[in-house]
């Protein structure tokens, strides 16, 4: 069983490497969405974005304390320090409302990315 299973292990590793190589193909032009965070609230709270193309969300934190932009449905989480600015890359989406929030202040910050 040994040599064949060892080979299959190598084959798997090779397949994984190929997947990663293929995956690095360049992304399409992304749609821009800009958000600001002040007093732990997002503005605008319901930004819109086009469906079917990647989206770049820029978050500027106007508060002095750190926040973490997080969204389960957009599958992103990223820390933005006080006074900092981050950009999040989101995959092309189908129309719908995608909830996001500041993970450190989930009770006051909630927004929806409206994709249509």
């Amino acid at each position: 069983m040994s040599p064949s299973s060892r080979k299959s292990g190598l084959r798997l590793a090779g397949a994984a490497a190929l997947v990663l190589l293929a995956a690095t193909a360049s992304a399409q032009e992304a749609a821009q969405v800009r958000l600001t965070l002040k007093d732990h609230r997002f503005s605008p709270a319901e930004p819109t974005a086009p469906a079917g193309k990647p989206i770049a969300i820029e978050v500027t934190n106007l508060d002095s304390t750190p926040s973490e932009f997080e969204s389960k449905t957009l599958r992103v989480e990223k820390v933005v320090v006080g006074g900092g600015k981050i950009t999040l890359n989101v995959r092309a989406l189908t129309p719908g409302r995608y909830r996001f929030y500041d993970d450190y202040h989930e009770e006051t910050t909630e927004g929806f990315l409206v994709v249509k």
Partner: protein, 281 residues
């Protein structure tokens, strides 16, 4: 206060369960407590540094530094866990055969302990930096409620450590003969879960763009932000809305560790030595 408790609690269990498993795996090995302790200490130090330089890290590498950093340390942990499991597979059988020799054998392979210490450090660093940033935010914001929030954070820390301790004590009640099989399986799933999280960060960074569609959505059945969901998330990498690539890499990691462990198991190596010509290498 409750919010602070929950945030600190869930970060602590994510790191703590990993620490609990590693400590159960190395129970009885001389120097393992010290190694685990050193791993935690290095993790806390690393977490403070990561928190202090969070802004600089986020803006590095054209703005995707944070994602690449997270993906890198997760991949490091996956490699260390894989290596540990393969090492245990090639030594585990004789260890299981004679429990008394365990200490001695593992001492001779102390490098595997270093691998596990790195896993502990990386887990504490990643989750700890989020706690550090959160607490920094509380202190910086000041105000009358910040003391409440700090108390909540401390309670969250205590509760998180308690859950981690339950994991550890639950594992060590397993008879020594079975423990090896159980922890090998746990570490394999743990590694697959971390690999899937690494993929998520690479997709977020835009480094990897294929198969980014959601494979399934079970958030209404079991949310991975609920307590049970989060424990499953840490233990076996459960996600309620994974991407297709996450699922593929998860399965590939499981298969790879399983195949490598099989290939390096003593019985397999012995058979290969017996009939090298017949198999043709």
């Amino acid at each position: 206060m409750l919010g602070a408790l929950i945030i600190v609690f869930r970060e602590v269990i994510e790191a703590g369960i990993i620490v609990g498993i590693v400590m159960a795996v190395t129970k009885g090995v001389s120097g393992s407590r010290l190694t685990a302790g050193a791993g935690v200490a290095a993790g806390v130090l690393g977490a403070s540094l990561v928190a202090a330089f969070a802004g600089a890290i986020a803006n590095a590498v054209e703005g995707v530094g944070q994602e690449l950093f997270n993906a890198s340390i997760l991949i490091l942990a996956v490699c260390m866990l894989t290596w540990h499991n393969v090492w245990m597979a090639s030594h585990g059988r004789q260890l299981a055969a004679d429990a008394r020799r365990l200490g001695q054998e593992v001492r001779s392979g102390a490098r595997s302990l270093v691998a596990l210490a790195i896993v502990v450090a990386v887990a504490v660093m990643r989750e700890g930096s989020e706690v550090a940033l959160f607490l920094y935010g509380l202190v910086a914001a000041g105000g009358a409620t910040s003391r409440d929030l700090l108390i909540g954070s401390l309670l969250g820390l205590v509760a998180g450590v308690a859950v981690s301790a339950i994991t550890y004590f639950g594992l060590v009640t397993i008879p020594a003969r079975r423990l090896f099989a159980v922890t090998s399986a746990l570490i394999t799933f743990l590694a697959a879960g971390l690999a899937s999280q690494a993929v998520n960060f690479l997709q977020q960074a835009g480094v990897v763009t294929i198969w980014s569609d959601t494979a399934w959505n079970t958030s209404s059945i079991l949310s991975d932000t609920s307590l049970f969901g989060r424990v499953l998330h840490t233990l076996v990498g459960y996600a309620d809305q994974p991407s297709v690539l996450q699922v593929v890499v998860y399965a590939a990691t499981l298969a790879t560790i399983f195949a490598l462990s099989k290939a390096f198991a003593p019985r397999a190596l012995a058979r290969r030595a017996e009939a090298p010509a017949a198999q043709g290498g």
